[in-house]
């Protein structure tokens, strides 16, 4: 019954968008409650659908749109967990936003845009075809542009919004190219589609993957990956994410936790069969993800802006998710479950962290951690909820992040034994850095002495309530749900007409047999972090599981990282001063502080010099050459006319002379002609 109302999941937030946009100005708090109600309604519908379909049903509705395309709803396990997560987290963020945006003159605009943002993300998640997904994907980009630039009077906000839109646009273009390539390949097959089937629908794509040439598959996969890289802030298109902090903190929370950045990971997960079938498809995903995880973590280490630290941490964690999908080359669809589990868990604790940071900023009125310190004394609730978030992010045992992140590291190890150890090494290093920068942040904000004069008060309950709820999930979600989650998501691709063994052959994945049917694996991955043990069994020849030191390594890494951070930044146990470790002139330190000179390269060199320079050259060509020849031609005509008109002297005597001479010549010519006999 709920399934009939699936469209409401998008329709309600869209309605809220329209109401807030046109009527919000007349409503208290900019009509924020409408947005909350809308997303909450979407959450109810999602839960209803969950109760109806769990564990083994999917919902697919579709209607024609134009030409060869359709609009439709596809709710399978993958989409459903995303729907639940997005509606849940976004509802909490909107509740929090009611407190956070209170008194802002643009509140109505904020809630309208936020509602549209939620609607776009939800539409993206349960789209049943790639074109529709792309449309909502772009709308998500638009909303992020609007929200990042929410305080448009600030030049930096306007610039950041533009940067976010343009950077993701680069990825989007690749995505679009991938879609078009895919469409043309499918169209070239001249499939006999049943009524109600359309070329770009996911089930149709899945069913015909084996008929597409492998090199085309790779190109398509790279195109889609380009889109995912842009949206999910992977290297080298991650540059927009830290700047995106210019928006209100709630926006950062939405972008970083629940909505925008997860879209890229979701896309790769959604198209996992295609990536799996494409030679080098997953290798590229793994490479990008693992590198980004480490790269962003190093930048998180050196930022002073609390929101930028969190932003880099998001980039890094997204790298983990990508790498988790990438190593699916070794473990099959199990990787989707692992990666999406991290995505969901991450959205809880990252939303929590951002909202905590927002709470702190709301009180302290600065983003700079160097001006905070000792905030914990005044904001107990914020401090402890943020501690839960930080522990979860750092991967402290029994917290959500521990289960999800460590699972990725473990399957990366398995990938290592089969194919290549590099992703594993990168991810472990990134995990250490994650623990360090997370607690560097926590210690610098909440412990120690006050380093500036700030307002000392706790945030209102409308803000703290969501924090507590999110903290509960950040704490307990992992331990409560991991097992069922894996088995639920493992069943995702069984609803479609595809055979992973066959796809693996196309993709060149040398697997030892059983990975074509990985459904059983998750069920055995019961014992907390031992998910990989089950995986190992399913992997057959691998033996009983990973060595014990691989299993506990993540725990050591997390605790070691936290301790290291404490030694540097917790005043009670402080042993080292971070500024003393390296000299001021150290080029590596300088490079880290400058963020690897990315701004200089991407904005300064590429955008301003190369692109704008090309534009200026074109302009010169246009003026001098393309328009120039025309002006030259008209100038030449004018010049010629200047000469010719001199014949007209204006002196009557000249005319008379010419006249007489003309008559004489005529007479002579005619006479001669008569003499000769011509006339």
């Amino acid at each position: 019954m709920y399934a009939d109302y699936a469209y409401l999941i998008v329709a309600l937030p869209v309605l809220a968008f329209l109401l807030c946009l046109f009527l919000g100005w007349h409503l208290p708090r900019g009509g924020g409650f409408i947005t909350v109600l809308a997303t909450f309604g979407a959450l109810i519908v999602s839960l209803g659908i969950f109760s109806e379909t769990y564990p083994d049903k999917i919902i697919h509705q579709s209607m024609p749109w134009f030409a060869d395309f359709n609009v439709g709803i596809l709710i399978d396990p993958l989409a459903l967990v995303m729907l639940l997560m997005v509606t849940f987290v976004v509802t909490l963020i909107h509740i929090y936003g009611n407190g956070y945006m209170n008194g802002d003159p643009g509140a109505a605009r904020y809630f309208a845009e936020a509602a549209l943002f939620s609607a776009s993300m939800l539409g993206l998640v349960y789209a049943d075809n790639l074109l529709q997904l792309f449309i909502f994907w772009e709308l998500v980009g638009l909303c992020s542009y609007l929200l990042i630039g929410f305080w448009y009077r600030k030049p930096s906000a306007a610039a950041a919004a533009k940067k976010a839109f343009l950077t993701t646009r680069v990825g989007d273009v690749l995505f679009l190219a991938g879609i078009i390539l895919l469409y043309n390949n499918l169209a070239g097959l001249n499939l006999a589609l049943k009524p109600g089937e359309y070329l770009l629908q996911f089930p149709v794509i899945y069913a015909h993957l084996t008929q597409i040439a492998p090199d085309q598959l790779t190109l398509i996969a790279l195109g889609l990956l380009g889109g995912a890289i842009g949206k999910s802030g992977q290297f080298p298109l991650h540059v927009w994410l830290p700047d995106a902090m210019e928006g209100p903190t709630t926006v950062s929370a939405m972008i970083h936790a629940a909505t925008m950045v997860t879209a890229g990971v979701y896309l790769v997960a959604r198209m996992f069969p295609l990536f799996y079938a494409a030679p080098y498809g997953l290798t590229a995903v793994a490479a990008v993800g693992a590198f980004t995880a480490l790269f962003a973590a190093t930048m998180g280490l050196t930022s002073f802006d609390i929101k930028r630290v969190l932003a880099f941490s998001t980039v890094s964690q997204l790298g983990f998710m990508m790498a988790g999908l990438g190593v699916g080359a070794a473990v099959g669809t199990f990787a989707v479950g692992v990666s999406i589990f991290h995505l969901i868990g991450h959205s809880f604790f990252k939303a929590l962290l951002f909202l905590c940071a927002g709470s702190v900023i709301h009180a302290v009125n600065t983003n700079d951690m160097r001006e905070m310190g000792g905030v914990g004394k005044y904001m107990k609730w914020t401090m402890y909820t943020m501690l839960i978030g930080s522990l979860s992010l750092a991967g402290f045992p029994l917290f959500t992040g521990f289960f999800s992140k460590d699972e990725i590291i473990v399957i990366a190890y398995e990938y290592g034994t089969l194919i290549n150890f590099l992703p594993y090494i990168f991810l472990v290093l990134a995990a250490i850095l994650t623990a360090i920068y997370t607690f560097r942040m926590w210690f610098s904000v909440f412990t120690g002495k006050e380093r500036s004069d700030y307002a000392k008060h706790e945030s209102p309950w409308v803000m703290l309530g969501p924090l507590v709820i999110l903290a509960v999930f950040a704490l307990g979600f992992g331990i409560a749900a991991q097992e069922d989650f894996y088995s639920y998501l493992d069943s995702n691709f069984e609803h479609y007409d595809l055979d992973f063994a066959e796809l693996g052959v196309i993709g060149g994945h040398v697997l030892e047999g059983e990975h074509g049917a990985p459904a059983a694996e998750g069920e055995q991955g019961a014992a907390a972090a031992k998910g990989a043990a089950g995986e190992g069994e399913a992997g057959g020849e691998e033996g009983p599981g990973e060595p014990w030191y691989i299993q506990i390594l993540p725990i050591i890494v997390a605790i070691g990282g936290i301790l290291t951070a404490a030694l540097f930044y917790w005043d009670k146990v402080k042993k080292f001063d971070p500024s003393q470790v390296t000299g001021e002139k150290d080029p590596i330190r300088k490079m880290l502080l400058k963020g690897y000179y990315q701004h200089e390269i991407m904005t300064g060199w590429f955008a301003e010099t190369v692109v704008y320079g090309t534009a200026l050259i074109c302009n010169t060509i246009d003026i001098k050459l393309v328009d120039g020849w025309l002006n030259w031609l008209s100038a030449w005509v004018m010049g010629f006319a200047q000469h010719v008109r001199k014949v007209q002297t204006g002196i009557i005597q000249n005319y008379v002379t010419a006249l007489v001479l003309g008559v004489v010549v005529l007479v002579v010519v005619i006479t001669l002609a008569m003499e000769v006999g011509l006339v």
Binding site: W65, L142, L176, L616, V626
Partner: protein, 500 residues
């Protein structure tokens, strides 16, 4: 069923033009009525239009100058009808937008209506002679609009516009004469009938390839200059910059579409019979127009010039889709004509509004205007988003169809270039938005205020239209799809269709 619908469509604005010329300050009311009626008429035609039929509809044919085979033949199919609809919509909105015109309003509105007459005639004529007359009629009101109501360099711009496009038209006229004098009807007489002549170009015994190549090149030049495509585009920015806002809107939204219309109506049916090199040439011109237009827009300092170059870029998609010659790309290109026609209105209106509210269009001198005119900022933002191809608005559907369709026939590397231009397109739109509208409000603009309600209304209507056709493209792509199928096949004459 309205009889003589098309003749009425052409006659009413013509009558309106005459009346409003003598109506003095009441001219705007006359103009409003004289543009509302054609809109109502064309909407009624839309309802009556048979979307699946491949024959010409609403055909009227009368002898005009029988001794030389000139007839008054008008009719619409899927190529022409969407543009008729576009013309009536845009003409009405432009007249509403210009409601506050105080300088010689009687002439102003008369010229706008005359413009409507011209474009409607071009989109409906099925006789080359009539077609050419309307084609040239359009030049006159536009020349005066630029020349009398224009900016500081209006004389240069008006003359450049006139001479440039007129020279191209003359070349086109020569090509039309070549068609006329080569083809003889079975009874020995000659005809200007468009479809008959186009159908005859398929016959190698009448039109040998070498000869057809030259005729084709002449016609192509006429249309590409009007479009305008890459090396022939330089009249456009000058004309746009100097023209009054309404002139710019009509110029970009309707006059450029005449070139595209010619492409579909005349060029595509001949394309299979001429030298294959033409396909390459046109494709190169299209790709260069798209990319070059985008880069040029990025380099502009004047917001109106930026918009003008964006037209060059967007019209490149029409050329690209047409020459790619697949069903999808041709449909997309037709839709791009329609979509660009409505979207570009809001861009030029925005530029015009900024000009008269703030007093300058130089992007570097603007800043923070959103602070003082939030409603205008929202509408302008929506327009810019539509123009950069945001899904949900009509521009995306059109460009997506063109790209998808073109991918099948054109080499991949040309497509890569086009894809890169999409990013550039986004860049110049956002850059202009950011510089003009965002950031702190400049002190000197503290007193600016929202533009007049009629200006906001006409812009908002366009946004609504763009959304409607973006969310439900089938409303108009159904018609275009039938026409695209038709374009792929040999031309049927009116007699073969059985309509006369």
């Amino acid at each position: 069923m309205i009889s003589n619908a098309i003749s009425l469509l052409i006659a009413i604005p013509l009558l309106g033009a005459v009346v409003s010329f003598f109506a003095g300050t009441k001219a705007k009311f006359v103009a409003l009525i004289a543009s509302l009626i054609p809109l109502a008429l064309s909407l009624q035609m839309y309802l009556e239009f048979d979307k699946t039929s491949k024959i010409m509809q609403f055909v009227e044919s009368y002898n005009w100058v029988p001794s030389i085979g000139v007839k008054y033949t008008v009719g619409v199919d899927g190529i022409g009808f969407p543009l008729v609809l576009l013309s009536t919509i845009v003409s009405l909105l432009v007249i509403i937008y210009s409601w506050g015109e105080t300088k010689k309003p009687n002439q102003y509105f008369a010229l706008l209506l005359l413009n409507e007459v011209g474009v409607l005639g071009v989109f409906t004529s099925l006789d080359f002679f009539l077609f050419y007359i309307f084609w040239e009629i359009v030049l006159i009101p536009m020349f005066f609009l630029i020349g009398s109501w224009g900016g500081p360099r209006k004389d240069y711009a008006a003359i450049k516009f006139f001479i440039y496009t007129h020279v191209a038209s003359l070349v086109m006229l020569l090509a039309i004469f070549a068609l006329y004098f080569t083809y003889q009807m079975p009874d020995g007489s000659r005809t200007f009938d468009m479809l008959t002549l186009l159908a005859a170009t398929a016959d190698k015994t009448i039109f040998p390839t070498n000869m057809l190549n030259i005729i084709f090149a002449g016609l192509l030049l006429g249309f590409l200059v009007k479009m305008p495509a890459f090396p022939f585009h330089t009249w456009l920015p000058d004309a746009h910059v100097e023209a009054p806002t309404a002139g710019s809107v009509v110029l970009a939204a309707l006059l450029l579409k005449m070139g595209g219309y010619g492409l579909f109506r005349v060029i595509l049916p001949m394309l299979p019979h001429v030298d294959k090199a033409f396909v390459t040439i046109i494709a190169i011109i299209a790709v260069i127009s798209i990319v070059y237009g985008a880069f040029m827009a990025l380099a502009q300092k004047d917001i109106k010039k930026l918009v003008a170059y964006s037209s060059v870029s967007h019209m490149g998609f029409v050329t690209l889709g047409a020459v790619a010659f697949t069903w999808m790309s041709v449909t997309g290109a037709m839709f791009q004509q329609f979509s660009h026609g409505i979207i570009t209105c809001v861009l030029f209106m925005s530029a015009g509004t900024i000009q008269h509210v703030v007093g300058t269009r130089v992007i570097a001198d603007l800043g923070g205007l959103a602070d003082r005119m939030p409603k205008f900022a929202v509408i302008m933002m929506a327009g810019f988003m539509a123009s950069l191809g945001l899904p949900g608005m009509s521009g995306f559907v059109a460009e997506f169809m063109v790209l998808t369709g073109s991918f099948a026939t054109l080499p991949a590397y040309t497509m890569i270039v086009v894809f890169l231009s999409i990013v550039t397109t986004a860049a110049y739109h956002l850059w202009a938005m950011q510089k003009a509208m965002f950031g702190p409000i400049l002190k000197k603009y503290m007193n600016v205020h929202e533009p007049h309600a009629y200006e906001l209304f006409s812009m908002a209507m366009i946004i609504v239209l763009s959304l409607i056709f973006g969310l439900q493209p089938g409303l108009i792509t159904d018609i275009m799809g039938t026409a695209a199928t038709q374009v792929m096949q040999p031309v049927m004459t009116l007699t073969q269709m059985g309509v006369i």
